[in-house]
Symmetry: C2
Subunit: 395 residues, 2 copies
């Protein structure tokens, strides 16, 4: 088995700085544009001719080995005279030569490719994590494949295999329950897996629950409604446990009649809307809601409004995640912020670190801290009660 400690290809001492810092460069062909004297046997360039290493070599009257060695700035190539090297670079530049990544990968067993699997690509949550992942990976010269499984077990099963067949060097799973035991490093964002070989990046749920509940508690809310996440979401359970703990600590009672759970696997504010309507139909009084995520909080607010309840005057609402649209809701959504982009970045960093320093030791878990973002959807509780509070204004 090949050691993964080898550095990225073409990482060389060239002083030419690339646009994207420190990426494994695909040979900077421009380095020696001068002195391009075409050698004795200039290979004829047929119209559709692919520019391969061999083509260059023939053109220069050298062997592919030499060209490769020089272009990769291999130590072995030190003995090759500057003049020859320049010729090689010049030719490469002239023909705009780019090595074939497939061939190189096949040979070196390095693909610089990561697989990412997520439930959806179009959701606020995943989207932010993805952007953190993407930024780091591309900066480091990797590309990635994304596959979204919409929580379908078949796909959750299938995609990792397909990605593996494509020789990805690592896998990042976002909000996806994990069963596999893969031969490559796996990092799960919001995973909660205790699997061999996976690093979990997760929020400090305890702290998150405390932040939200303390905030509501201090504002005087005692009857709080909760929207739990769907069964399949890997955060649901941990989040709920943390809420129960935090509530206990505060002496806040959780009323069974005021807790509901999201249903449906296509994420949409509508899920929160439906669940809140059902909640309101019970005529059980409450002065605040804590939703599983921002998207359901947004739906909840709509449902409340439709019943003539003002947010936050009659009911305070706290979301979770701080997706981009949370800030631009009206009222701005008070929410527990997950550093989603950062979590993505950490996931990417971790997976790359595990790939390159292929040690047996890797972190089983990395915890990140939440942050309470107070906007306009929460305020002091009045004599809070769904029935009574309808037309009061106390903010």
């Amino acid at each position: 088995m090949m050691s993964r400690t080898s550095q990225a290809p073409n990482e060389c001492d060239s002083s030419k700085s690339s646009i994207v810092a420190s990426r494994p460069r695909l040979w900077e062909t421009a380095s020696a544009m001068s002195k391009q004297k075409d050698n004795g046997t200039p290979a004829v360039r047929h119209p559709g001719q692919k520019i391969s290493l061999k083509f260059l070599a023939d053109h220069l009257g050298l062997s592919p080995a030499t060209v490769s060695l020089v272009m990769n700035r291999s130590a072995v190539a030190d003995s090759i005279p500057k003049a020859t090297q320049d010729q090689i670079f010049a030719a490469a530049h002239k023909f705009n030569y780019r090595p074939n990544f497939l061939a190189r990968s096949l040979r070196t067993q390095r693909t610089f490719t990561i697989g990412v699997i997520v439930p959806e690509v179009s959701e606020g949550y995943e989207t932010l994590v993805l952007s953190g992942i993407e930024e780091h990976l591309l900066r480091e010269g990797y590309f990635y494949f994304v596959a979204s499984h919409h929580h379908k077990p078949d796909l959750i099963d299938e995609y990792p295999k397909l990605l593996l067949a494509r020789s990805v060097e690592g896998l990042i799973a976002v909000d996806t329950p994990w069963q596999h035991d893969l031969s490559i490093p796996v990092v799960a964002v919001s995973g909660h897996n205790e699997m061999q070989g996976v690093t979990n990046i997760m929020l400090d749920h305890r702290r998150a629950a405390e932040l939200a509940l303390e905030h509501l508690f201090k504002l005087g809310h005692r009857r709080v409604a909760f929207i739990k996440g769907q069964e399949f979401s890997s955060d649901t359970e941990a989040r709920w446990d943390a809420i129960v703990q935090a509530a206990t600590k505060l002496g806040l009672t959780i009323h069974a009649k005021l807790t509901t759970q999201l249903l449906g696997d296509v994420p949409s504010p509508d899920l929160g809307y439906q669940v809140t309507r059902r909640l309101l139909a019970k005529h059980e009084p409450f002065s605040a809601m804590f939703a599983f995520n921002d998207i359901s909080a947004i739906g909840a607010i709509r449902a409340l409004r439709e019943k003539g309840l003002r947010v936050p005057e009659d009911v305070s609402v706290v979301g979770f995640d701080d997706i981009q649209s949370a800030a631009y809701q009206n009222p701005g959504l008070t929410t527990v912020r997950q550093p989603l982009r950062k979590m993505g970045r950490i996931a990417a960093e971790t997976v790359l670190r595990r790939i390159t320093r292929d040690g047996m030791d890797y972190p089983k878990q990395i915890t990140v801290e939440p942050e309470l973002v107070v906007r306009e959807s929460t305020c002091k509780a009045g004599r809070a009660n769904v029935a009574k509070s309808r037309f009061r204004k106390d903010c």
Copy 2:
């Protein structure tokens, strides 16, 4: 040059249906699980042994050629007895063999990989297009690389080259101005390029402008403020031209003092917010706004609100795109819907079609139709005037 008309590999008549319809399967190894009699010379399986074709062949006492032929259900393999075939499948299944995609790609010159370049991965607009692209590509057995360039010219230059070096078979560019002349099919979503080799998927801007302006006009709005897109956005110019035309047709005057333009390249409602504040500072009366996109409309609404103007009672606002959060704004955003997901799907379909039916003929442009989505951010104009309309309620 190899013909691209060859069908996807492993597309066979096997009755076993795959999870994902009609994808080029990576050999369904389960097809013959019975009768696995290990041949005379069972290759020893070392712990870290990679399962290659050669390994299987050795194990079975056959040549790699035979195994490959059978597994690919090549016509040449017709003469190979069922018994042998079964043994091969059984062994493949037993060892959970998956062909190495890199090797296969290198040989066949088919990578089943598409490159996608977008400004951001985390924005509502791109995100929806991406999800349309992704759905179609994965269904067809392709994977894709995404690269986001944040409108940086260097990256817009660099990424296509890197993707090409990775042998993508086609490229989809979303909202990205295009200069390159690539050797592979290129599809641009909202591109407005007249480049050789690129198919543009674009909205019928004329119709879009008409929908929005007619709507406002019918509601009685005569003084409409406009927010134009940033210079770099490929839609900006076409959209504006269409607006001018539609306005002329309606007899609506466009006031220079009421038109502003977004600045800044990190998309955020804040851009719309800033621009609207500046607009309001002019104290030029208007009763409606037409924003370049939903995201700026959302910021605009916030700015209006801050000045004590109600939306829609005092100022009606029309957005553009119909990103997901538009529906869940409060008030719900009236907007011109671009069928973004569909545009993504069409882009994917088109690029695949161009890859497989490698004809010279390809559509230069595909136009999709917008749709007006009336929600709550627009209503009848009163004696509309920023100064006067402050405390009226006429909806």
